[in-house]
């Protein structure tokens, strides 16, 4: 497996968006991520799969330094975005996060109106000139997240009064609204019905044309459908990483094989 990654890196060197090297994460004394090396390519969808608690969310949160907010969390190793170390002192996590957006595992809409939830990002980044433009961005984002039809009549209602799946889509819309270069999505479809899921997957496909997307999912089918490359985590280790097709059809590691053939979710 290592070989494969090495070759790939040389081939696509100019296309590597994010490179993680020997990343270790500790929660207090718990060693949650062990020595992970991953390259995330530009204009590609990368899927992280693995059993619950294996460290997918933890690793994802490293990529935009969201782990900074957890006191007991300590990150070691290097993560490079476009060749620049994001844990470098000079890096401003704010700027980083504007470029690397995130959808969290648990939907966390702000206790504000639906409109304000989506408008929040563009506003703080000064991406819109006026209200009309903002309206446009909000509508576009909600449409992309397949929520527009359900909420267009109640944009002023609080985002917290939505159903679970609606909240999840609202969070996706919120993240998309700021047009990040990399979008990290932690189980974005877990609360969505098949149709909504399909729409979000379409969105991901569309995003891939310009950006890179990392998606954590428990659904092998989803991983297979949307991603070009898949990483399999197990107990904090990156067990296998490669072309999605190869991982699913021809896993090299026995653990990967037993996981994906376990049963289909």
């Amino acid at each position: 497996m290592n070989d494969m990654r090495l070759t790939e890196r040389t081939v696509n060197a100019n296309d590597i968006k994010i490179a993680a090297r020997k990343v270790q994460v500790f929660y207090g004394t718990t060693h949650a991520i062990k020595d992970v090396d991953v390259d995330i390519l530009d204009k590609t969808v990368t899927a992280f799969i693995g059993p619950s608690g294996c460290g997918k969310s933890t690793f994802l949160r490293c990529i935009n330094r969201m782990n900074d907010t957890i006191d007991i969390c300590r990150v070691e190793g290097d993560i490079l975005l476009d060749g620049e170390d994001i844990y470098n002192k000079k890096v401003d996590p704010v700027q980083l996060r504007a470029r690397v957006g995130m959808v969290f595992q648990k939907p966390n809409p702000f206790p504000k109106s639906i409109y304000d939830n989506v408008a929040y990002g563009p506003k703080i980044h000064g991406q819109v000139k006026n209200k009309a433009e903002l309206d446009e961005v909000v509508e576009a984002s909600l449409r992309k997240a397949a929520l527009w039809n359900e909420v267009k009549d109640r944009l002023d209602a609080p985002g917290t009064g939505l159903s679970g799946g609606q909240q999840q889509r609202l969070c996706i819309a919120r993240a998309v609204a700021t047009s990040p270069e990399v979008l990290l999505m932690d189980e974005p479809c877990s609360a969505l019905d098949p149709i909504a899921t399909a729409q979000v997957e379409e969105l991901i496909d569309e995003l891939r044309e310009n950006f890179s997307v990392v998606i954590v999912t428990h659904s092998m089918q989803q991983a297979a459908r949307v991603s070009q490359r898949t990483a399999f985590f197990h107990l904090g280790n990156l067990v296998e990483f490669g072309e999605t097709g190869q991982i699913f059809t021809n896993p090299r590691d026995p653990r990967t094989e037993s996981y994906i053939t376990g049963r289909i979710g």
Binding site: T69, V94, A98, K112, I124, H125, P158, T160, T178
Partner: protein, 481 residues
């Protein structure tokens, strides 16, 4: 039996009830908790509550009703008395004195029933046991006192019996009802709920008490001083010997002005401190700084007052007021406001800090994840979510500012003035309530009674402010999750 003993007895019964009730529940389920409707403790609680609460309620009602009932009966023995209230005071005192005489062993109960006011000097006898009487005792009054005393004794015995009976009945009824299916938790929780309601009624009772204790003297005041002058006049100039101008506006103005300046100091400092402590500061710094700031609320106001008088006042005068040509007074609204602002910082900082700290982390994560800076997160996500609590804290601080006296007296002076100049001496409603009430003037003069009218007016005034605040908070309230 004394009241204390009776209360203690009921309490003992209640505690016994708890233990026995719990045991009975357990044994009725043969030790198998699953068969019980509720946890065994709830059965105990139910018995205890049934024993104690009705008994105490009865006791309270009895203690409240008995004097009134007895007094109406005794009053019938005293036909044609002019000041019945006054005479009843004497009756009560004589009865009390008789009790003391018996208690100290001077006379027996029998001797007392034979005692006659026209044959013995009741007043001096009463004096011997430390009961002061204003005048000599009339025979009718003495007879009334004797009957008052015996009625009282009967009442007391009746109460003891009734209270114990109720306690025992409550005990028995709850205890006997204990079966595995008995919904003890519901019963005891309903009881607790009643207690909770009672606790919130204390606030209502306090308000009623305040209004009642102010309203009579206020009415009295308006009888001797025209209400129109009080509410419409723009001068406050009490005179020692009468003929004062008692217009409330200069005082209201002073109150508002001082409080506004104090809030202008305390709200930004307190809020920024709260934000800093909750969001930025290390745990250690927070653990130290927060209690330190809280000490500010506990420093006696006289210290602040002297600080205002000796340090802040002259400084403001020398460096601001005089160079700007705004006056030469060392006491000023500004002085008092600044210093008072310092005192109320912890009301804003500590309470807001707790509320901000309670905002779920997931909201912060959501905002940071979008690339917001910490300050943007605070301003746009956390503060709106914490708004109701913060407004409550600010209102509390404002309330404290309105009620403060010492700092105003020493910092702003005692002169009531209507002026825009913050470097002039002014004063507040509260200061004048205190000074008029504790002054040297006659109590029945308008100069003293005005204190009550001021108190009542301020009460209504702040009530209106609070209603406005409530409406505003309701409008902007955000509920997380």
């Amino acid at each position: 039996m004394t009241l204390g003993l009776l209360a203690a007895l009921v309490l003992v019964l209640a505690i016994g009830g708890f233990i026995l009730g719990r045991q009975r529940a357990l044994s009725s389920a043969k030790g198998d908790l699953r068969k019980l409707h509720s946890l065994p403790g709830y059965y105990g609680q139910t018995v205890a509550l049934f024993t104690a609460v009705p008994a105490f309620v009865l006791m309270a009602v009895w203690l409240f009703a008995q004097p009134a009932l007895i007094e109406t009966r005794v009053a019938k023995l005293l036909p044609g008395e002019e000041h019945l209230d006054l005479v009843m005071t004497d009756v009560r005192k004589i009865a009390e004195g008789l009790d003391l005489i018996v208690a100290q062993g001077y006379l027996s109960n029998k001797a007392i029933s034979d005692m006659r006011a026209d044959l013995s000097d009741i007043r001096s006898r009463m004096g011997d046991v430390g009961i002061a009487l204003g005048s000599n005792v009339k025979p009718t009054v003495f007879e009334a006192a004797k009957s008052y005393r015996s009625l009282n004794h009967m009442g007391r015995i009746g109460m003891t019996v009734a209270v114990l009976a109720v306690a025992l009945a409550g005990f028995a009824s709850a205890f006997l009802r204990i079966q595995p299916e008995f919904r003890a938790r519901n019963v005891s929780e309903s009881f607790v709920k009643v207690l909770l309601i009672a606790a919130s009624l204390v606030a209502i009772a306090t308000t009623v008490g305040i209004v009642l204790s102010l309203v009579f003297e206020t009415v009295h005041f308006f009888k001797i001083y025209p209400a129109a002058d009080f509410f419409l006049s723009l001068t406050w100039n009490p005179q020692f010997g009468g003929g004062s101008d008692l217009g409330i506006w200069p005082l209201i103005w002073g109150t508002l002005y001082v409080s506004l300046i104090a809030l202008a100091v305390a709200v930004p400092i307190g809020l920024f401190a709260a934000i800093y402590l909750a969001e930025y500061a290390s745990k250690k710094l927070r653990a130290i700084a927060k209690p330190l700031l809280e000490i500010l609320a506990g420093i006696p106001t006289i210290v602040y007052g002297l600080f205002a008088l000796i340090t802040v006042g002259p400084m403001l005068r020398d460096y601001f007021a005089q160079p700007l040509g705004l006056g030469t007074s060392s006491s000023s609204v500004m002085t008092a406001g600044l210093v008072m602002g310092i005192m109320i910082i912890p009301f804003v900082s500590s309470l807001s800090d707790d509320i901000i700290n309670a905002v779920p982390q997931s909201l912060r994560d959501g905002s940071y994840g979008l690339g917001a800076t910490q300050s943007e997160t605070v301003k746009q996500v956390i503060l709106p979510a914490a708004l109701p609590g913060i407004v409550g804290a600010i209102l509390l601080a404002a309330s404290r500012a309105i009620g403060e006296t010492m700092i105003v007296v020493l910092g702003a002076g005692a002169a009531a003035k209507l002026s825009m100049n913050p470097f002039e001496a002014m004063t507040t409603v509260t200061v004048k309530i205190v000074s008029q009430l504790t002054g040297d003037t006659e109590f029945a003069s308008p100069e003293t009674l005005v204190a009550f009218a001021l108190g009542l007016t301020l009460f209504v005034f702040t009530l209106i402010l609070n209603i406005v605040a409530l409406v505003i908070v309701r409008k902007y309230r955000e509920q997380y999750e």
